[in-house]
Structure formats: C-alpha cells, structure tokens
Amino acid sequence: MADADWLNNINLLLYRIQQNDKLALKELYGFAGGKLLAIIVRIVKDREEAEDTLQEVFIKVWEQSNKYSGRGSAWGWLCVLARHSALDRLRSLNSHPHSSIHDDEEWLEGLFEADNASTTHSINRCLGHLKEQTRKSILMSFVYGHSHGEVSSELSVPLGTVKAWIRRGLQELKQCLAV
C-alpha cells in the first residue's frame, strides 16, 4: 500500500474540506496536486489542457467533497475524480491524445521487477503475475484512460479479445489481491 501517513493526511484534509476549510484545499493542492496532475497528463497529454483539468478537479473537490462517502481512501476517490475529469476533457475536445504506454516504459518495467521495493505493493506484485498482453491492456485502460476500442487498435487485436483479456485479468487480479 502507499505510505500510510500520506494517505491519512489526504483523508484528514478531505474531511477538513468537507467542513469548508479553504486552507485545507490549499494544503491538499500542495500535497497531492502534482500526483493528480501526473494522472491527468497520462490521459490528456496536452500540458495546458491538463493544468486546466487540474483546476476543474480542485473546484469539484471544493464543491462536491460531500460525495466522498468515507468508504475506501480519500486518495482513491480523488484518483477516480481526476481520471473522470481528464476523460471528460478529452471527450469535450473530441480527441484522443493519450500518452503512450511506451513513454513510460522505464517506470513500468521498474514496477514489476522482482527486486524492486515497489513490488511490496500487492497490486504491483499481482499485475506482475499476469500475462504481458493482459497487464498491458489493464494498464492502458486503468492508467492511460484508453477505451477498449483504443486498446484493440493499439495492440492490433480484435475488440472481443481485449475485453476478454481485461475481464479475466481483473478476475485474476482480484484473486491474487485476496491472498
């Protein structure tokens, strides 16, 4: 799991934002703004659009923080909010300029190396156990925001195959994460 103190801080900041504490929003921005921008850039790619999307995300956090039910981590909720906002921005631009998974090859390889400290994270370990094409499809979908159709074009495999890879991959991941 991610650093527990870091996650707790995010939880506390979101709680304060729910109480209309504007300073907490600024602290959250300093604390997690860069990470959220990294998520958005993977999907939107255009830097200016990504910065505008980050703005939208923080306005939504300010206005809709009460939508966070407290189930799961606040960081997980923020990631989903950032990804949805980035995908909405892409759709409104009517374009598909996702970053390519190849741009991050070094980072991705590091995630699944057996002697890397990051494999202490269950999700890294379990993704590492999946077949390469399955892992790639899941990462393209869940990190880079590609639709199944886009994954199918990128990997030059039929759409049905991509859907099956992702569905089976998620089942295997869930089983592995439960161990």
């Binding site: 799991m1 991610a2 870091w6 729910q18 504007k22 929003l25 600024k26 921005y29 703004g33 860069g34 990470k35 921008l37 990294a38 998520i39 850039v41 993977r42 990504a50 910065e51 980050l54 703005q55 923080f58 306005i59 300010w62 206005e63 009460n66 939508k67 039910s69 407290g70 189930r71 799961g72 981590s73 960081w75 997980g76 909720w77 923020l78 990631c79 989903v80 990804r83 949805h84 980035a86 995908l87 909405d88 759709r91 980072w107 995630l111 990051s118 994270h121 269950s122 999700i123 890294n124 993704l127 979908s141 869940f142 990190v143 925001g145 199944h148 569905r167 998620l170 869930k174 994460l177």
Partner: protein, 251 residues
C-alpha cells in the same frame, strides 16, 4: 428495500465498479451509477476496492509540478464561488430586514399569509381518516437536547389512498426550513440497515409511499434526513429522530 437486487450481485457489482473506476462509462451512465452508489452499499464497496487498488499505482507515478498560475486560478474561482454564496445569503438577510421594518401592518399580513399557507399542510389530507400510525419527532442530528423542529407522521394505506407521510414543522422552526433538499432514510430496528425512502417533496404536500418504503418506515427505529443521497453519516445527516408506533384512539 430500495434499489434493484441485481446491483447486489457480486459479479455485476464488480464489473460495474471496474468500468466506473476505469472511466469506461459515458457521462450519463456514470451519473446513473453515482446515484446507485448512494443507495447500494455493495456497489460502493466494490468501487472503493478497485479505486483503492489502482490508486496505489497512481500514487507511484512520478509527480508533475503544476504551474503557479494553476493554484492562483483555483483560488480566484473559489473566492468568486464563495462571494456568490455570501451575496445570496446577504440578500436573504436584507429581505428579512425589510420584513422587520415593515411595521405591524406588514407583520399582520405575514401572519395571515403564513396561516393561509400552513393550514393545508397542518390539516391532514381529507382522504385519510383516523390518526397517524407512526410518528417521528425530528431534531438537529447529533446535538444533545436539541429542540424538536418538525414531526413526520406516517399514515397507513386506506382503501384507494396510499400510505403517506406528512412533514409538519414546529411553528418556532418554520423559518429554518429553507429551500434545502432533504432525503429521508429509515433505520431498520433489527439490522440497523439504512433504507433510502426518497427526496422530500418540494411543496408542503403528502408524501405517497410504495409498499417497500412503507414497510421500511414501519420497521424503523429511527428516521434520518440527509443533505444528499449518500448513506447517512455524521457529515450529511441534518435531522434525525426516533420513530414510534402509535396505538389507535380508544373511544
């Protein structure tokens, strides 16, 4: 029981949750999913599971450095939003001030107008005869010795008249009612499960209940009013009160 049972199926929950977290839903489907999340804990749990798992990957992404102007623009936009809220609140106070200085004639007019508007809601619907079957006395949530602000009376189905709820504000608190949307929940007296009844009608009117909602009220130990459709918690619960069953009047 509210919501469809199929959203409680583990496989369906898991599939929908992973689609939601991946962002593979259209805007409209996502909005529908979000309203389901508020009333289907199983679905909400499945979303939290996948969101948490993939958030670990996102947390490992090398952070980017946002431009300074991004925060400045966020700060400016929030200040504008707050100013709008403040000005809306100020104009409300100003309108109250006008009422205050309007003199006795104005007060009398207001009083008569209030009586005129309140009478239909205070009087039970002519189609319902007999007293309420259940009553919940509602006060501000989590405040010790809070005053009762309004009463919810529940009337059982009679003939063609469906089961109904009436919300009746205390005369001393009618001005606190405001325009806020309130959502009603019933807490099951045995399991403690929260059952969503629905959004309170905007006007002072009877609130018709279908059979599952009526049973939820009848089996509840407590009714709660929340500010949104999320399951009641300490943040979104505005009013709560014990729900008691009344015996019939003995002649």
């Amino acid at each position: 029981m509210s919501g469809s049972l199929r959203y409680r199926n583990e496989l369906i929950c898991d599939h929908l949750a992973s689609q939601y977290v991946a962002g593979a839903m259209t805007f409209r489907v996502r909005a529908r999913m979000e309203s389901l999340l508020a009333v289907t804990p199983e679905l909400d749990r499945a979303v939290a599971f996948w969101a948490d798992q993939f958030s670990v990957l996102h947390e490992q992404l090398p952070a980017e450095v946002p431009e300074n102007k991004t925060w400045e623009q966020i700060d400016r936009r929030i200040s504008v939003l707050d100013a709008h809220e403040q000005s809306a609140s100020n104009s409300w106070w100003q309108s109250l001030l006008l009422w205050r200085v309007a003199g006795i004639g104005g007060m009398m007019t207001s009083f008569l107008l209030a009586m005129f508007l309140l009478l239909p809601s205070i009087s039970p619907s002519p189609q319902i005869t007999g007293g309420a079957n259940y009553v919940a006395t509602m006060s501000a949530h989590n405040i010790d010795k809070a005053e009762i602000q309004f009463v919810i009376s529940a009337y059982k189905k009679q003939g063609d008249t469906p089961s109904r709820l009436h919300v009746q504000w205390s005369q001393g608190h009618i001005d606190k009612k405001g325009d806020q949307s309130l959502h009603l929940w019933a807490e099951d007296k045995d399991s403690g499960e929260m059952v969503y009844i629905g959004l309170q009608p905007a006007q002072e009117q009877a609130w018709d209940l279908d059979k599952p909602s009526w049973l939820a009220v009848a089996n509840s130990s407590r009714l709660l009013m929340t500010s949104n459709t999320n399951v009641p918690d300490s943040l979104n619960t505005v009013f709560s009160g014990p729900c008691v069953q009344l015996t019939a009047w003995q002649s």
